[in-house]
Amino acid sequence: MMISESFRELHRRGEGALIGFITGGDPSPKISQQIIETIAKEGADIIEIGIPFSDPIADGPTIQAASNRSLNAGTNPQAIFDIVKETKSRIEIPIALMTYYNVLFKMGVQNFLTKASEHRVDGLIIPDLPIEEAAEYRELAEKQGIDTIFLVTPSTLPNRLKDILNYTSGFLYLISIYGVTGKRDDVSQLTIQSIKRIKPYTAGTIPLAVGFGLHKPEHISSIIGSGADGAIVGSALVKIVENNLNDSIKLIEQISTLTRNLKSATLPKK
């Protein structure tokens, strides 16, 4: 299933999308595979897997630590491609990869995208690649049938928003706040206002998903209630890995519970 199909189906059912992020290969390739399948089975609609990078400037301490654990476990891009293929062979769910541009650049953008496509990757999120630098990447990704998910922020002005939308497929990623990834206590007014401001530009053409800071069911319902088509949860899931490094059974249990609770918040109000 492709990302756009997933959103269309959810839309028909009146649901928002739960997009679950996890750093791939953390704490080991084997457990990472289990975590991803758990997130998928317990109700996430789309999975976002991070390919670890040594210097993740858009990430807060939780995902930084996960990236380090994963790199120390020997994770490379190929290992993540393999996880994607394995997951897709068992579960029908769209998968997007998140990583920093140097990981593509070093492998060769064309080569990276070909491999990604061969391993059934559906979309890519590259937080340090603004549209100014993305012409070649976007063109090559389109040829491989991979969605290019770009990010906007509360300070993105209408003209730039339109330019970014021209580069975007799959969904538009709204960063909820000014800052890096990581839990925040509440959904701020800034986030709600930003959703309402941006929604008219995306409605009917591309889904709008919101990420950074969300970790409670009430955050998800507030985001979806304000007009977003999906909510992305990352650091809260990654934190469960960090807290249960020596107990994979408890780790999987907690991932299951959190995913279920978060998914329930995307369902239509009875």
């Binding site: 650049f105 100014e132 990010l151 922020t153 002005l157």
Partner: protein, 399 residues
């Protein structure tokens, strides 16, 4: 060939440079570029900066003929551009004053900076103290341990020092942390970057403020020798002192240029910081440039006796100048740098920074191969008091 001083064009030096930053920073770096273009030609801004550079920093710094060293080597005449005499003890202040003044004009009251050895942090703290701005400096805990004196100097000058405990706990991580702060507080905060690195427009802005080194050198050598030098030598970490010296000479085809990186233990040992000499093209800290990385694009940790050169990337303009062959890049080991440090101290009574000692070590080799009527200018980018402890340890002494 087109002129070399017209770059960057649309944020790039050839294919190098660019703006590889999170979307949150895009409006901010565009605002910075617009403000910079406005103020750099503003006569009041220029006058104010000139005033501080002259009366506060003590510019122009001298161009000193190192006659003892020249005699010993028996080759080309060696001149030293004495950036070690600038206030704060290094060329860093040229950039921090320029940018701090720009930040002030832009109405930003909070300044953040990264520092490795602490020299840029101290220079930022000095500039902010004199201009009445608040400075917060990110520094790796590993570096804080190695450079305790500079940590204290920054705090005395009123700067807040934030320890960075992530990654390798050194310069690259302090830049990561400064970028994260900037992403979070971009509306109120000015990021005062310390070298010709990072996303456009930083490599251009820092270069422009450092070009005073080359402009003065040109004037001074013409006054002393009636002609331009045959060669320029400068050390390259990020590369700001080198580009500052080189840039005004780029169109003078007979002036050869040498950028000297840190070979650490040796290039073959893998324990070095020679991004151009031993690295490959990559995208790091907002720019496309030469970086030290593994086969998967993970940035590697570096090693050098000199903390100021201990960085796994290099300014994109250097990558460009390397690609067209205008500047030759080479590397000097810790051991060679240490010898050059002692040499200059004994023979000329000048204690050079370990960073600058890399340039000195290379000039010694170069001058020997040249004729007595030829001229080499070495950028003595900083003074070496800060390195006393490192040198003492190497020499087996305790202080």
């Amino acid at each position: 060939m087109s002129r070399l001083d017209i770059y960057p064009i649309d944020g790039k030096f050839g294919k190098y440079g660019g703006r590889f930053v999170p979307e949150t920073l895009m409006p901010v770096i565009k605002e910075l570029e617009e403000s910079y273009q406005k103020f750099k030609n503003d006569s009041n801004f220029k006058k104010e900066l000139e005033y501080y550079l002259r009366d506060f920093v003590g510019r122009p710094t001298t161009l000193y003929y190192a006659s003892n060293l020249t005699k010993i080597l028996g080759g080309a005449k060696i001149y030293l551009k004495r950036e070690d005499l600038a206030h704060g003890g290094a060329h860093k202040i040229n950039n921090t004053l320029g940018q701090a003044l720009l930040a002030k004009k832009m109405g930003k009251k909070r300044i953040i900076a990264e520092t490795g050895a602490g020299q840029h942090g101290v220079a930022t703290a000095i500039a902010c103290a004199v201009l009445g701005l608040k400075a917060e400096v990110y520094m790796g805990t590993e570096d804080m341990e190695r450079q305790k004196l500079n940590v204290f100097r920054m705090r005395m000058l009123g700067a807040e020092v934030h320890p960075v405990d992530s990654g390798s706990k050194t310069l690259k991580d302090s830049i990561n942390e400064a970028l994260r702060d900037w992403v979070t507080n971009a509306q109120t905060t000015y990021y005062l970057i310390g070298s010709v690195v990072g996303p456009h427009p930083y490599p251009m802005i820092v270069r422009d403020f450092q070009c005073i080194i080359g402009h003065e050198t040109k004037e001074q050598i013409l006054a002393k020798e009636g002609r331009l030098p045959d060669a320029l030598v400068a050390c390259v970490g990020g590369g700001s002192n080198a580009i500052g010296l080189f840039h005004p000479f780029l169109e003078d085809a007979n002036v050869k240029m040498y950028g000297i990186e840190a070979a650490g233990e040796s290039i073959t040992s893998g324990k070095h910081a020679a991004s151009i000499s031993a690295g490959s093209e990559g995208v790091f800290h907002g720019m496309l440039t030469y970086v030290l990385q593994d086969e998967n694009g993970q940035i590697q940790t570096t090693s050098s006796i000199s903390a100021g050169l201990d960085y796994p990337g290099v300014g994109p303009e250097h990558s460009f100048l390397k690609s067209i062959g205008r500047v030759q890049y080479d590397a000097i080991t810790d051991k060679e740098a240490l010898e050059a440090f002692i040499d200059l101290t004994r023979n000329e009574g000048i204690v050079p920074a370990l960073e600058s000692s890399h340039a000195l070590a290379y000039s010694k080799k170069l001058a020997k191969k040249m004729n007595k009527d030829q001229i080499v200018v070495v950028n003595l980018s900083g003074r070496g008091d800060k390195d006393a402890e490192v040198v003492a340890t190497q020499k087996g002494a305790m202080i």
